[in-house]
């Protein structure tokens, strides 16, 4: 099998950048994204919920929140659409909804470290304060007019950027993070 080639492959300057000292921001591409879109119909949403949350500790996906389980992480991106970060898509009857592989459509970048929140606020018009955007919060927003999806995982802020724009936004992130001292992992 041929290897997957990241959108950031040509520009991934690992190491420390900008302000000396302990890095305030860590940036990391999470490679080989496996992302499924599951879309249901108004009268099959409950069944879709059940299929997606199989193996998770709840059968409801609250709006704006991700739900994690042994099979992956799921969150709602549109009224009738969900994203599932998992190796394999869920199983349900064809009449209940449709599945789409979007694994190559987005580049996942994790931003972590004590200044991650501040760094992101330089680019994202989102209220990322802990009480407004706690762990597992999910939102759709924009960076430099490019639509992105943001999920706050236990490891940091996970940005899902349309692949074609990923390099451009990555460059902006690296530039912005320098003031905090950054490390590309």
């Amino acid at each position: 099998m041929a290897n997957r080639c990241s959108a950031l492959a040509a520009y991934y300057p690992t190491g420390l950048h900008g302000r000396p000292g302990e890095p305030g921001v860590k940036l990391q591409e999470i490679p080989d994204l496996s992302l499924w879109q599951i879309a249901g119909w108004p009268d099959t949403m409950e069944l879709i919920h059940l299929a997606i949350t199989d193996g998770m500790n709840s059968d409801r996906l609250p709006a704006g929140r991700a739900l994690a389980g042994s099979k992956g992480v799921a969150f709602q991106v549109e009224p009738l659409k969900f994203w599932l970060l998992a190796e394999a898509p869920p199983v349900f009857k064809e009449a209940h909804g449709v599945i789409l592989d979007l694994s190559h459509s987005r580049t996942q970048i994790r931003i972590s470290g004590p200044e991650a929140q501040t760094c992101l606020s330089r680019l994202l018009p989102l209220d990322l304060r802990d009480h407004s955007f706690p762990q597992n919060a999910v939102a759709s927003s924009g960076i430099h007019h490019v639509g992105i999806t943001l999920w706050r995982s236990e490891l940091g802020f996970e940005l899902f950027i349309p692949r074609g724009f990923a390099r451009s936004i990555w460059e902006l992130l690296l530039e912005t993070a320098e003031q905090f001292g950054s490390e590309v992992i």
Binding site: M1, A2, N3, R4, C5, S6, A7, A9, A10, H17, G18, R19, Q37, A39, W41, L80, K81, E94, A95, V98, L100, D101, L102, S103, H104, S105, R106, S121, R122, L123, L124, P125, L126, D127, R129, S132, H144, H145, V146, P162, R163, G164, F165, R167, S168, I169, E171, L172, E175, T176, E178, Q179
Partner: protein
């Protein structure tokens, strides 16, 4: 003006001296100094030249309203003009110089303008443009072309650097419960109280030091650091060097943070300035008040400043600004300043225009040695580059009368105070006139905003603190959905202020400035009135009052008062102009943030972007995408490269990155019905494993886009669109589903980013595909016929979906692979093509190939073209209803003489003609002509230039008629021949073969 730094006192760090340069002269100051205070301490008193008359100007204030000390900071690419020395923090190595003067602000040849001052009065430009009466009346002056250059050179103040800005800037987004603007006593009280109530508070201060008025009040300065510590402990986010420049809808405040403007060696990783969009649920405006000047003779001379400025220079910077000081006032606030200056060793005379002053006020200052003269003011200041004496004026029953002279070296003015209501005014609220306090204050309103401190017209310290706490209560109540008391009561002086704006005596003519930044005088205001400009908005524009960089902070109220007097009205009847953002100037750099250079727009790269570059591709913009334009070989330019690429595709095989085409997944049990409704041609019976070319119309019957749609499974389609219209098509289709056809079970998802697209075109394209396919049997002519679709894998287990479709007119395939596999798939396909003497081709060759075939693209489908116009009328079904099917049959759109798609050959096959030209009947080149040219190319297949375009009635209407391609601005007329748009292989043998 005898200034000196006192041995003690002030908020400066005397242990840390700083060196700086003023007009080439090395000087020194201390950490904590502003540039203004450091210049003052160095006895530099002439710091600028006025706009029109080039009069010498010195410091007039100590804040953002400064209209005298406007200087240029920095050198080379970092030269920054029109900086107010009063707002600029001193740093080691700072280089500053005067502006609008030659050779220097101390000795400026431009001062000769003063001799012609009477010709530069209000409306100078307007009158100049009118022309020389009576010869040029009504048509403007012809001489304008001569003196325009001189006027343009004379206009403006400093000059910006012509070099590219080397600094970085950035945008930031902030959120808080309560935004407090101003760190004076009221602002601090509000912030602390709100934070202690559990609110998330941000406090912004435009100065480089926190404290506001407290920085210049000795008794408060000592406790300031403790108060600031308490604010930090309560969780208040303190932002100094940050100006709230505008208030907008939804609690949005615009902030400008000057991140490194106060540093001598800014770290390269720091942005110079940061443009904040701060979203708060409530705003407390504690932005203070600005002390007003008075209009009197020569009131702009160096050595004349506001009384409060002298207090700030004394108590904050430890500088005594004069030895023999006269203060002219109409209110109580100057008394404290008088006492402070007297205590510091100056001889102080206080002229109070009020005849009745409370004894307590008088006795307070008299005990410190201040000589108080009531019912007195200033008529005229004497001196040129400084003040050495003044003419006094004394109240008389009918106004003022001239009195004796009085020597002094510093003249301080306190003409009352104007609360800074600008931010509230940004919300569309007109300030109201408070006649008791002689100032504009905030009106009653229902915005989530509270005014506090002197911004609310409260003058005493205790009252300010109390108003801050009250504003915090208001804010907290608002956050909890409760109503609270909204306004603080203005006032706080023992003796009421007297409304005083100008002191003049008949027979004493002097220049008396109202708006010193634009050299607007009291006479200019009266002239405007005489000439009929009686509306305050007209007054502003005619005289330019309030239109300089201070936006009327210094002179607006005086100007309004003078206009009111001329009109015989009261100030509130005259009204006020509207304050608009920004409160203080903002650099263009901060507005653009990081969206500059390569990030001016986000660049969209295909998965093959780097592959194309490594293969020698030259890229071109296609929307936000970068697409390969051509792949030049050594010695080739674009002209040679695309012709070679076109020839190679026709002869062997070519490979092209076509990822930028729009791609939409159409899924669901009603997907077939949906497609049948949006395409003009039938889709109901498209078999699985087949693709079909389709045309989409808009509701109005014009063509919106074209593309192919592939049926991958019963309920699963893969639609491609043009690069240009991908987003528009996606949006329109989604709108149809969400608004008109909610009953259809269809989901649309853009998968443009999911798939890398590679076109393989040419007679040997099948051999290339066969060599790459994991199972060659799947791509035989039988297994994959024209318009056939398969999902399979290439060698290396690379998943692909392939359709045999052609844009070039050759046997061709479009191969889509998941984006991350794009480079691997391209490596394999290109290896197979290269050994067959194939080529990589770009957008230019793609264009040549499609023009030869008469295939339309965005250049032709420009929104004015019907399906018939495009020559695709046979694709419009008359057996079904679809979007646009009704309105496309409007009589106007069915006319035979509408412009139709045609091919164009030059009569003389050696000739070249241009896209964008108009097509006209020979001998009648006029108006819009009979048609237009949309695309041209050199056709290697035909051996000459060809074009596509539209002409009335189409090809059949112009057989044997003489037509010229008219290009009057570039090439002139070229005789052309109108031919069928299918200029190469019209039967399609090469494509189907």
């Amino acid at each position: 003006m005898n200034t000196r730094r006192l041995p003690t006192g002030g908020q400066i760090n005397r242990a840390k001296p700083l060196e700086f340069e003023w007009d080439g002269k090395p000087l020194a100051g201390y950490e904590g100094d502003s540039l203004a205070s450091a210049l003052l301490a160095s006895d530099e008193t002439i710091l600028g030249r006025s706009f029109k008359y080039h009069r010498p100007r010195g410091l007039m204030s100590a804040g953002v309203e400064e209209s005298g000390a406007i200087v240029t900071i920095g050198t080379g690419a970092r030269r920054d003009a029109n900086v107010k020395a009063t707002s600029q923090a001193l740093y080691d190595g700072l280089v500053a110089k005067g502006q609008n003067a030659w050779p220097s602000v101390r000795n400026d040849f431009g001062a000769v303008n003063s001799l012609f001052g009477r010709f530069f009065s209000a409306g100078f430009y307007y009158k100049t443009f009118m022309g020389l009466p009576p010869f040029e009346w009504g048509k403007g002056t012809g001489a304008w072309m001569w003196y325009e250059k001189i006027i343009r050179k004379a206009a403006g103040m400093g000059t910006a650097s012509r070099e590219a800005d080397p600094d970085a800037y950035e945008h930031a987004n902030g959120y808080c419960d309560i935004l407090v603007v101003g760190s004076g006593p009221a602002g601090r009280a509000a912030a602390l109280s709100a934070a202690q109530s559990g609110c998330d508070v941000v406090l912004v201060e435009q100065d480089f030091a926190l404290g506001g008025e407290s920085l210049s009040r000795v008794e408060e300065a000592d406790t300031l650091s403790q108060e600031l510590a308490a604010l930090r402990a309560a969780g208040v986010r303190l932002m100094e060097n940050t100006t709230a420049f505008g208030l907008y809808d939804g609690g949005v405040a615009g902030l400008l943070e000057r991140v490194t403007d106060h540093l001598s060696a800014p770290p390269q990783w720091m942005p110079r300035q940061r443009f904040w969009t701060m979203r708060s649920r409530f705003t407390v405006i504690a932005s203070g008040a600005l002390e007003r000047h008075l209009a009197f003779g020569n009131n702009d001379r160096p050595g004349i400043m506001t009384a409060n400025a002298a207090k700030i220079y004394l108590n904050r910077y430890g500088i005594l600004t004069g030895e023999n000081i006269v203060i002219a006032t109409n209110n109580d606030s100057a008394y404290l300043t008088a006492s402070s200056l007297s205590n510091a060793g100056a001889c102080v005379t206080l002229l109070d225009s009020r005849e009745q002053i409370l004894n307590s006020s008088q006795s307070g200052v008299q005990s410190t040695g201040v000589d108080v003269k009531s019912g007195m003011s200033i008529l005229n200041a004497k001196g040129s580059k400084g003040v050495y004496s003044i003419d006094l004026a004394e109240k008389s029953p009918d106004g003022w009368r001239a009195k004796n002279q009085m020597a002094c070296d510093l003249l301080l003015i306190s003409g009352g105070w104007s609360p800074v209501v600008n931010l509230l005014s940004h919300r569309g609220l007109k300030p109201v006139w408070d006649s008791v306090n002689a100032c504009f204050i905030a009106p009653d309103h229902h915005e989530p905003i509270a005014m506090a401190g002197s911004a609310a017209g409260i003058w005493d310290h205790a009252g300010c603190v109390q108003s801050g706490e009250k504003a915090a209560d208001h804010a907290v109540a608002h956050l909890h959905g409760q109503r609270a008391e909204t306004s603080n009561k203005s006032g706080g002086w023992q003796t009421p202020i007297e409304g005083l704006y100008e002191i003049s005596v008949s027979g004493h003519q002097h220049k008396s400035f109202v708006d010193p930044q634009h050299d607007v005088t009291a006479d200019d205001i009266r002239l405007a009135h005489q000439e009929g400009f009686v509306s305050v908005e007209h007054l502003k524009r005619y005289t330019t009052l309030g239109m300089a960089t201070d936006q009327g902070k210094m002179g607006n109220v005086i100007g309004l008062a003078l206009m009111a007097e001329a009109l015989g009205k009261e100030i509130p009847e005259v009204g006020t102009t509207t304050f608009r953002p920004p409160y203080t100037p903002i650099s263009i750099g901060a507005l653009k943030g990081r969206n500059v250079g390569s990030h001016f727009r986000a660049l969209r790269r295909t998965p093959l972007h780097d592959w194309n570059l490594n293969a020698g591709g030259t890229m071109t913009m296609a929307g936000l995408w970068h697409r390969p334009w051509y792949f030049a070989q050594p010695g080739e330019g674009i002209g040679e490269a695309y012709v070679r690429e076109t020839e190679t595709v026709r002869r062997t095989v070519g490979v092209c990155d076509v990822t930028s085409l729009g791609k939409i997944a159409v899924q669901g049990p009603d997907a077939t019905e949906f497609l049948n409704r949006v395409y003009t041609n039938p889709f109901a019976k498209l078999a699985v494993g087949k693709a079909r070319y389709g045309i989409m119309l808009r509701d109005d019957g014009f063509v919106m886009d074209d593309g192919t749609t592939w049926r991958l499974a019963e309920n699963n389609y893969f639609m491609t669109t043009t690069t240009a219209h991908a987003a528009k098509v996606m949006t329109f289709l989604e709108e149809l589903l969400q608004t008109r056809w909610q009953d259809l079970r269809v989901h649309l998802t853009s998968v443009s980013e999911q798939w890398a697209g590679i076109a393989v075109a040419g007679p040997q394209s099948r051999e290339v595909i066969t060599e790459c396919a994991a199972d060659p049997r799947e791509v035989t002519d039988r297994a994959l016929p024209f318009m056939g679709v398969i999902e399979t894998t290439l060698k290396g287990n690379i998943p692909v979906r392939i359709a045999r479709i052609s844009f070039s007119g050759e046997r061709a395939f479009e191969i889509y692979t998941p984006s991350d596999y794009g480079p691997a798939a391209m490596d394999m396909i290109w290896s197979a093509a290269r050994v067959r003497k194939g080529c990589l081709y770009g957008l230019e060759a793609l264009g040549a190939l499609r023009i030869e075939k008469g295939h339309v693209t965005g250049a032709e489908l420009d929104g004015r073209v019907t399906i018939e116009d495009a020559g695709l009328g046979r694709m419009a079904s008359d057996k079904k209803s679809y979007i646009g099917s009704v309105l496309k049959n409007r009589p106007e759109l069915l006319k035979d003489d509408r412009p139709r798609l045609v091919g164009i050959f030059p009569k003389d096959r050696r000739e070249i003609f241009n896209a964008g030209s108009i097509l006209c009947q020979n001998g009648n080149v006029s108006g819009y002509g009979n048609g237009w040219v949309t695309a041209v190319t050199h056709s290697p297949a035909l051996g000459h230039w060809i074009g596509l375009g539209f002409i009335e009635g189409g090809h059949s209407n112009w057989i044997d008629r003489e037509v010229v391609c008219a290009d009057p601005l570039r090439k002139g007329n070229t005789p052309v021949e109108i031919v069928s748009p299918h200029m190469f292989d019209p039967s399609g043998e090469r494509m189907y073969g």
